[in-house]
Symmetry: C2
Subunit: 247 residues, 2 copies
DNA sequence: TAAACGGGTTGACGTGGATCAAACGTAGAG
DNA sequence: CTCTACGTTTGATCCACGTCAACCCGTTTA
């Protein structure tokens, strides 16, 4: 890329963002702040970044400086091991934070990849820590967000450790549904942004198994599946399927 | 329990603890603090709690107030779902923190159970947050600890999602070995504090599978196993086993 | 309009680990 | 010292999911 083009692109990317105007403030960090505090946060979140589908937001091994809030779009995070194994560790949508794993060692431990054209707010971490020392509500909220990530991970461990294929997929779909709902979208009808292979990687299954489970759900009238377009026809049925203990 | 006995027990339990004298300070929170700061921390960590093998430190659903640092002993955390499923989400040893999952919703989301007679320091969380606002080094360290927990969970997800039984057990043993080493114990010879069933639950395997994997490791000369006493004979072999990608 | 391509579906078959069952320590209790 | 109990080991069998392979479908490229 030429220097000119880079400059132009940067000029385009570095957009002044205002948390105080952002319609995500209930999902993201600024929840429950006073106007004066919000203003401080505005100064903190200085840059927005646009990414095209397939772009890396960051890569494993890269130095950690900022966490990111998804403003629009959809991401996945994955870890790869030298022996070729890889695992999708999460999917992130609007209002969710990316990069918390990098705090521990000052280095990102996974890759974050846009699954569609997306926009994120970069939050320089040392600034965030500074502000957390000033604003108790922000500090507490940030701690809650990190803790929620730990709880979420425990849920995934549960899923991977104790559930069979159809239960895992049902759990995954119900989780997505609920997150879409929380963002004002239909909980019953949505487009998957990820491939069967990526779902499989997240759920510890092969893509063929994921595909078969989709087909079976459709046969049983739980879902209408058309490529990546999903319509949930029987939420209760999916939920019941998940709680069928084995043994 | 009679009121007298309770009072006596409480009197016994509420021991003044001094972080500044604690030999764990490299593992726990106080790393890299100034003497004056350490003194403040001393005031924060007011109580120590003793637990007998099998005691619950806290239970899922219980209100969250404090996080705990393991001073001595060994713990497991597990989540149970109403349908009867349960999963061990982690094992904690000296210097490690318990209860971070409770921050998100002010309620503990898992059970913490002592696997041997143990002692913990209770750290009232709101006090900790207060101190984090005053002491930058403590704040940063705490954030690192939370982030490390997230990274650890990703590792477990990797293990559960992509590894086969022997690889999981090898990974588990190497992890334990490394943690014992970091605490000044032999990395090659240690006692497991948990049953085969608990290992299995953590690794997403049945106890029989764990037992068979132990036997095979012993046959192959990688380990000497005598009940819960483990001696690692070939660390490199275990490590190699783990990086044998499949497919 | 065809050809190439990537993602998805479906079928046939193999296998790793679950399940079921029995026997074997080792540790407390009487 | 025996009895009982619990955790562990080991064997035989089963099955859910992985593997391999063919085919389909929608999209992009020539």
């Amino acid at each position: 890329m030429s220097t000119d083009a880079t400059a132009a692109r940067l000029a385009f990317e570095v957009v002044k963002t205002a948390c105080s105007n952002c319609n995500l403030r209930e999902l993201c960090l600024p929840i429950g702040l006073e106007p004066a505090e919000l203003k401080k946060l505005d100064e903190l979140v200085s840059t927005r970044k646009r990414l095209k589908r397939g772009d890396h937001l960051y890569r494993a091994g890269q130095g950690f400086e900022s966490i990111y809030a998804v403003r629009s779009g959809f991401f996945k995070t994955d870890v790869l091991v030298e022996d070729g194994r890889d695992q999708v560790t999460g999917f992130q949508m609007t209002g969710e934070l990316l990069g918390l794993d990098g705090i521990s060692s000052e280095v990102h431990t996974c890759n974050a990849i846009a699954l569609e054209d997306s926009e994120v707010c970069a939050i320089p971490f040392s600034h965030l820590e500074g502000l957390c020392r000033q604003i108790q509500a922000l500090q507490h909220h940030f701690h809650k967000v990190m803790s929620r990530e730990i709880v979420r991970d425990h849920g995934v461990m549960m899923l991977l450790g104790t559930m069979r294929a159809e239960e895992r997929l049902a759990g995954f779909l119900l989780n997505l549904s609920q997150r879409f709902k929380a963002r004002g979208y239909s909980p019953a009808e949505f487009n998957l942004r990820m491939s069967r292979d990526e779902i499989g990687s997240y759920l510890g299954l092969k893509l063929e198994t994921v595909s078969r489970a989709f087909s079976r759900f459709q046969d049983e009238g739980l879902l209408a599946v058309h490529q990546r377009k999903i319509r949930i026809l029987n939420t209760a049925g999916l939920r019941k399927l998940m709680s069928h203990q084995r043994s």
